[in-house]
C-alpha cells in the first residue's frame, strides 16, 4: 500500500521541467532563483521516491544533506544578488552583462 515509483517520478519530472522553464525564460532574478530551488526540490522528491522503493534510509540521508546545502547556497546566493542589485539597480539579467565581449 504505497505510492508507486512511477507516479513519484512523473511528478518530479514535471516539477523539474517547470523549474527549468522558469530559470530559462524569466528575466527576474528572484524568479530565476526560485525556479532553481524548485528544481532542487524536484530532485529531492525523486531521491526520496527511490529510497522508498529500495528500502533503507540512504535516500533520506541524501535529501537531508541536500536541503542543508540548499540553505547555505541560498544564503550566499542572495547575498550576491543583493550586491549585484545595489550595483546595477536592476534585476533584469539581460542587463547584467559585464562579461560581454
Amino acid at each position: 500500500m504505497s505510492v508507486p515509483l512511477t507516479d513519484v517520478l512523473v511528478v518530479s519530472v514535471a516539477l523539474f521541467a517547470l523549474g527549468l522553464a522558469g530559470a530559462l525564460l524569466r528575466r527576474n532574478a528572484i524568479t530565476i532563483f526560485l525556479s532553481i530551488e524548485l528544481m532542487l526540490n524536484a530532485a529531492n522528491l525523486a531521491i526520496v521516491g527511490f529510497g522508498a522503493k529500495v528500502g533503507g534510509y540512504q535516500g533520506q540521508i541524501v535529501v537531508f544533506f541536500a536541503i542543508v546545502v540548499a540553505a547555505a547556497e541560498a544564503a550566499v546566493g542572495l547575498a550576491i544578488f543583493v550586491a549585484v542589485f545595489r550595483h546595477h539597480e536592476t534585476i533584469d539579467v539581460n542587463k547584467i552583462n559585464l562579461l560581454k565581449w
Partner: protein, 649 residues
C-alpha cells in the same frame, strides 16, 4: 720530464693573461707575458728535443706518444687527448717555437706604438697554442683542433686593424677560403674514421702500410680530401687567393703565420699522411701537378707586383708549391727540408720588409723606395742573405733544399722539372728585383720620408741577424748525398717518417724516390745555380745602374696585354667574383627574400593569424548573458542524456 701538453699550454696562458688583463696592466705586462710564455715554451721544447734528437741519431727513432685521458667514447669511436713526439713533429716543434719567439721579440719593437698592443699579443699567443697543438697532436682530431685554431687566429690577426674595411674583408676572405679547404679535410677525416675505425696516427699508418692491398682503393679519395684541406691552408691553386690579401695584417703576422708556420701546416699534413699518398699514384700526381703549377703561376705574378709585401706573398705561394711538388714525387723529406729553410729565409724577408716599411713610415710601394741600403744597413745585409737563400745560390740554405727537390722531380718527370726550373729562375729574378728597387739606386720617395728614414731598433734587428745566420748556414744540415751518405743529417733524422710499404711492387714504384746517377745530379746542380744566377743578372740589368727601369718599360710597351694580365694577377679574383660570389650572393638573397621572409615567416604569421581569427570568432560566445550560459548547459545535458540513453541501445 716535461710533459708535452705544457708546450701549447704556456702560450695559451699567455693568451688569457694578455687578453684579460693586458689592457689594464699596460704594455710591459703584455710584453712579459706574451713574449715570456713563448720564450719559456721554446726553452722547454728544446729540453725535450735535444735528448730526443740524440736518440734518433743514435738509432732510436721510436715516436713518443703521451696519452692524457679519453676525450670521445661513443660507440666504436674513441679519441684520446694525446700528443706525439716523432721526427716530423720534433722538426716542426723546433722551428715553430724558435722562429715564433724571434717574431714575438720583433713585434715588441714593430708594434710598440699600437693601441691594441695587448690584443695583438694575446692573438699571437693563441696562434702559438693552436700551431703547437696542430704539430704535437697524436691523432687527426687534435690536429684538426689546432688546424681550426690557426685558421681562426689568422682571421683575427689579418683583420687586426678591424676598423679598416679592407682589413676586415681580407680577414673574412682568408677564413672562408680556409673553410672550403677545411670542408675537404673533414670529409677526409670522416673517410679515415670510417675506414680505419680510429684517428690515431700510430694505428692508422702502420695498418695502411702493412696491408696496402686492402686499403689502397680508398686512399685516392682520402688523400685528395686531405690535400684539399692543405690547398686551403697552404694557399695552393685554386684556394690561394686569400694569401695576397692577408698582407693587410701587420707584417710580423705575415712573417709568422703566412710564411713560416700556418701555411706549412698543409705540407705537414701531407708529410704526416705520406703512407696514404704513396698508396695512390693518382693523388701523388695531383699533388705534384698542383704544386708545380702553383709554383710557376705565383712566380709569374710576383714579377709584376709593386707592393713589397705582395711580392713576398706570391713568393710564399710559389715556394709552398715547391714543397708540394716534392711531396708529389715522393720526396717528402726534401719537402720538409724546404719547409725548414723557407721558414728561415721567408720570415727574414718579411721581417726585413717590415723594417723597411717601418723606416719608410708605412710606405709599402717599391716604386717609392730606392737606395735604402745606406740608411738601413742591417736590414739590407740580412735581406740580401735571405734573397740569396731563396734564389738558390750555394751555400745559402735555399740552395740545398730547392736543389734536392728539383733533383727528385727530374728523376720522376722531366716536364715537371722544367716547370720547377723555370719557376726557380723567375724566383731569383723577382727577388733581386725587389732588392734593387728597394735598396739600390736613388731614393724616389718624398723629402719627408727621406728625413724619416732610420734603421730599426735592436728588438727588430737582432731577430733579423739571427735569421740571417740561419738562412746562410741552415742548409748545411741537409748536404746532398753526393758528399757521402752520412753527410745528410736531415735525412738521417726524418727518414723514419716515410716507412716502407710492404708488398706489391706496382705500388712501390710510385712511392720511392728514384735514384739519380752522380753525373746527372751534378748537372742538375749546375743548371739550378745557373738559372739562379741568370735571374740575378737579368734583374740587375733591368733594375740597377744608370739605365735602371728602361728595359722593363720597353717590355711593357711591347707587350701591354701580357703586363696587364700579370700585374692584375691573371684576374683570378675577378673570375671568382663573377663565377662564384655573385651567383652565391644571389642565391642567398633568394633564400632571404623568398624562403625566409615569405615562406617561413609566412607560415608562422599564418599560424598566429589563425589563432587570432578563431579568437575573434569564438568571442561571440561570450555574451555575458547568464541565460545563454544556462541554455548551453541544458542543451549539453540533453545531448548527453540522449547519447547515454539511446545510442548504446
Amino acid at each position: 720530464m716535461i710533459p708535452l701538453w705544457l708546450l701549447p699550454l704556456l702560450p695559451f696562458a699567455g693568451f688569457l693573461l694578455c687578453g684579460l688583463l693586458g689592457r689594464r696592466l699596460g704594455k710591459t705586462f703584455v710584453t712579459v707575458c706574451g713574449v715570456g710564455s713563448v720564450a719559456l715554451t721554446t726553452v722547454l721544447a728544446y729540453a725535450r728535443l735535444v735528448p730526443y734528437a740524440a736518440g734518433v741519431f743514435g738509432g732510436n727513432a721510436a715516436p713518443v706518444v703521451e696519452r692524457y685521458g679519453s676525450w670521445i667514447r661513443a660507440g666504436n669511436v674513441a679519441v684520446d687527448f694525446a700528443m706525439r713526439l716523432d721526427p716530423l713533429s720534433a722538426l716542426m716543434l723546433s722551428f715553430v717555437t724558435f722562429v715564433g719567439l724571434l717574431i714575438h721579440v720583433y713585434s715588441v719593437g714593430y708594434m710598440h706604438a699600437e693601441e691594441g698592443y695587448w690584443r695583438y699579443f694575446s692573438y699571437l699567443n693563441l696562434f702559438m697554442f693552436s700551431m703547437l697543438t696542430l704539430v704535437l697532436g697524436a691523432n687527426f682530431l687534435i690536429l684538426f683542433v689546432g688546424w681550426e685554431g690557426v685558421g681562426l687566429c689568422s682571421y683575427l690577426l689579418i683583420a687586426f686593424d678591424y676598423q679598416k674595411e679592407s682589413s676586415a674583408r681580407a680577414g673574412r676572405k682568408a677564413f672562408v677560403a680556409n673553410r672550403v679547404g677545411d670542408f675537404g679535410f673533414l670529409i677526409g677525416l670522416f673517410l679515415i674514421l670510417g675506414l680505419f675505425g680510429t684517428l690515431e696516427f700510430d694505428r692508422i699508418f702502420p695498418a695502411a702500410a702493412a696491408a696496402p692491398g686492402r686499403f689502397a682503393p680508398a686512399m685516392t679519395a682520402i688523400a685528395l680530401c686531405l690535400f684539399v684541406g692543405a690547398c686551403g691552408k697552404s694557399a695552393q691553386l685554386p684556394l690561394y687567393v686569400w694569401l695576397p690579401d692577408a698582407m693587410a695584417g701587420p707584417t710580423p703576422v705575415s712573417a709568422l703565420i703566412h710564411a713560416a708556420t700556418m701555411v706549412t701546416a698543409g705540407v705537414y699534413v701531407v708529410a704526416r699522411a705520406n703512407v696514404f699518398f704513396r698508396l695512390s699514384p693518382t693523388a701523388m700526381a695531383v699533388v705534384a701537378i698542383v704544386g708545380g703549377a702553383t709554383a710557376l703561376f705565383a712566380a709569374i705574378i710576383g714579377t709584376a707586383q709593386t707592393d713589397i709585401k705582395k711580392v713576398l706573398a706570391y713568393s710564399t705561394i710559389s715556394q709552398l708549391g715547391y714543397m708540394f711538388l716534392a711531396c708529389g714525387v715522393g720526396a717528402f723529406v726534401a719537402g720538409m727540408f724546404h719547409v725548414l729553410t723557407h721558414a728561415f729565409f721567408k720570415a727574414l724577408l718579411f721581417l726585413g720588409s717590415g723594417s723597411v716599411i717601418h723606416g719608410m713610415g708605412g710606405e709599402q710601394d717599391m716604386r717609392r723606395m730606392g737606395g735604402l741600403r745606406r740608411a738601413l744597413p742591417v736590414t739590407f745585409w740580412t735581406f740580401l742573405a735571405a734573397t740569396l737563400a731563396i734564389a738558390g745560390i750555394p751555400i745559402w740554405a735555399g740552395f740545398f733544399s730547392k736543389d734536392e727537390i728539383l733533383g727528385a722531380v727530374f728523376a720522376r718527370n722531366p716536364i715537371l722539372w722544367g716547370i720547377g726550373f723555370l719557376a726557380a729562375g723567375l724566383t731569383s729574378f723577382y727577388m733581386f728585383r725587389v732588392v734593387y728597387l728597394t735598396f739600390f739606386g736613388t731614393f724616389r720617395g718624398t723629402e719627408e720620408e727621406k728625413r724619416h728614414l732610420h734603421e730599426s731598433p735592436p728588438s727588430m734587428t737582432i731577430p733579423l741577424v739571427i735569421l740571417a745566420v740561419l738562412s746562410t748556414a741552415g742548409g748545411l744540415v741537409g748536404l746532398p748525398a753526393l758528399l757521402g751518405p752520412r753527410a745528410n743529417l736531415f735525412h738521417r733524422f726524418l727518414d723514419p717518417i716515410v716507412p716502407p710499404i710492404t708488398g706489391g711492387a706496382a705500388l712501390g714504384r710510385g712511392a720511392q724516390v728514384a735514384e739519380l746517377s752522380r753525373g746527372t745530379e751534378i748537372a742538375l746542380i749546375a743548371a739550378s745555380v745557373g738559372i739562379a744566377l741568370l735571374g740575378w743578372i737579368v734583374a740587375r740589368v733591368c733594375y740597377s745602374g744608370d739605365r735602371a727601369g728602361t728595359i722593363p718599360e720597353r717590355f711593357v710597351r711591347a707587350f701591354p696585354g701580357v703586363h696587364l694580365l700579370v700585374s692584375n694577377k691573371f684576374y683570378v679574383d675577378e673570375l671568382y667574383e663573377a663565377v662564384i660570389y655573385r651567383p652565391f650572393r644571389r642565391l642567398s638573397r633568394m633564400f632571404w627574400k623568398v624562403v625566409d621572409t615569405l615562406v617561413i615567416d609566412g607560415l608562422i604569421n599564418a599560424g598566429s593569424f589563425l589563432v587570432e581569427l578563431s579568437g575573434d570568432l569564438l568571442r561571440f560566445f561570450t555574451t555575458g548573458n547568464v541565460r545563454n550560459y544556462a541554455l548551453t548547459f541544458l542543451l549539453g545535458i540533453v545531448a548527453l542524456l540522449a547519447y547515454l540513453g539511446w545510442a548504446p541501445r
